[in-house]
């Protein structure tokens, strides 16, 4: 019954190897493009292992998703005592590192970004557990910056503008590589991108605030 947390049975080890491989492959290919055979190859497991442990390819994806890191980011940010402008800046830095840094292990966000375009049976879970909380979090943050007068529709569009800028770099990565072959997305460049999005968005948000008073 696994007394020690470190010592896992052989079965649990292959389960974890499968989950790791799945996160890798699903973040590199689309759901249709990712194959069970490739996942099992990387996990050094038999093709039947996926169906044995997770029931199906869908089930594997659902279990591979874990948005705890994203939630932790929001929680930490929420309890920070800084002003909302600085908190937005901080969050965007961390979020972009999570989205773009290859060394960052939380490829779940990359899967999430990928699955936006064509829906998967797992999309409902992604929306419920990751996207909806993220939009709510950003909505509150923006609300702190703009006044109460701003309508819900305009607030929502601001959140969309912020998220859209962030996801662009992930979605369009293959394109950006061809447009600007010399550009490297090291952690310094990623931070610069995060800062740019923060400044750009703060100006956009405050302009809306001003237009309201006019």
């Amino acid at each position: 019954m696994m007394a020690e947390a470190e010592i896992k049975t052989a079965s649990e080890q292959t389960r974890m190897r499968l989950l790791d491989a799945a996160r890798e492959v699903f973040s590199e290919n689309s759901f249709q493009g990712a194959t069970v055979r490739e996942i099992c190859r990387r996990a050094d497991a038999n093709v039947a292992a996926v169906n044995y442990h997770f029931g199906s390819k869908d089930g594997l994806l659902a279990e591979a998703l874990n948005f705890a890191p994203l939630a932790a980011l929001q929680k930490a940010n929420f309890s920070a005592s800084e002003c909302p402008e600085i908190r937005l800046r901080m969050f965007l830095r961390d979020f972009m590192l999570m989205l773009l840094d290859e060394k960052n292990p939380s490829s779940q966000c990359r899967i999430m970004a990928r699955e936006l375009a064509d829906p998967t049976p797992a999309l409902d879970k992604i929306v419920r557990e990751a996207i909806a909380p993220l939009h709510a979090f950003l909505g509150k943050l923006v609300r702190e910056i703009v006044g109460e007068k701003t309508s819900e529709a305009e607030l929502r569009r601001c959140v969309h503008s912020i998220v859209g800028q962030c996801l662009f770099y992930r979605h369009s990565h293959p394109v950006l590589q061809r447009l600007h072959p010399k550009l490297r997305f090291d952690s310094k460049e990623i931070q610069a991108i995060g800062d740019h999005i923060a400044e750009f968005s703060l100006a956009g948000i405050k302009q809306l605030d001003k237009a309201q008073r006019r």
Copy 2:
């Protein structure tokens, strides 16, 4: 040898039916998700027709792409005599209509947006003929607004911010439907989105200009 432009041979008619159906199916599904059989079914053609007329599924996609409407938009905008701020506003309205309006026939932009995420043999053509010119066009427009002092890197990030906001609504359409089920993307809402992106971005651009002078 086809004297009249309107009267086409039977062969050319099926070619066009195939291209129309291909644009439909490719804009609804990913490249991997779209099947040759479905395209031929909608075009009332035999399965072999695709390979006979276009060589392969790749070739069909390549020929189905036609970015003339997008280029026309840029050209018309470029020769307008308005100030750059208003031209940006105008362009974003038209561009969002092209991206989101189901009644808009130029589904090529929808295919383009779709293909950003996972590359296809046609991606090189898309980048060359559509994305690179689009970024160059927006780059010039933004350059007219900000001064000459702004660095190329920052200018590029502004373009990315604008394009990112636009593409977000196309990419995340399935997600937005679940987040805000009541929201309908009729042409009025699309124009409001375009205007929001314009205002939001203009503030972001000008803030960058001010930060420069500081």
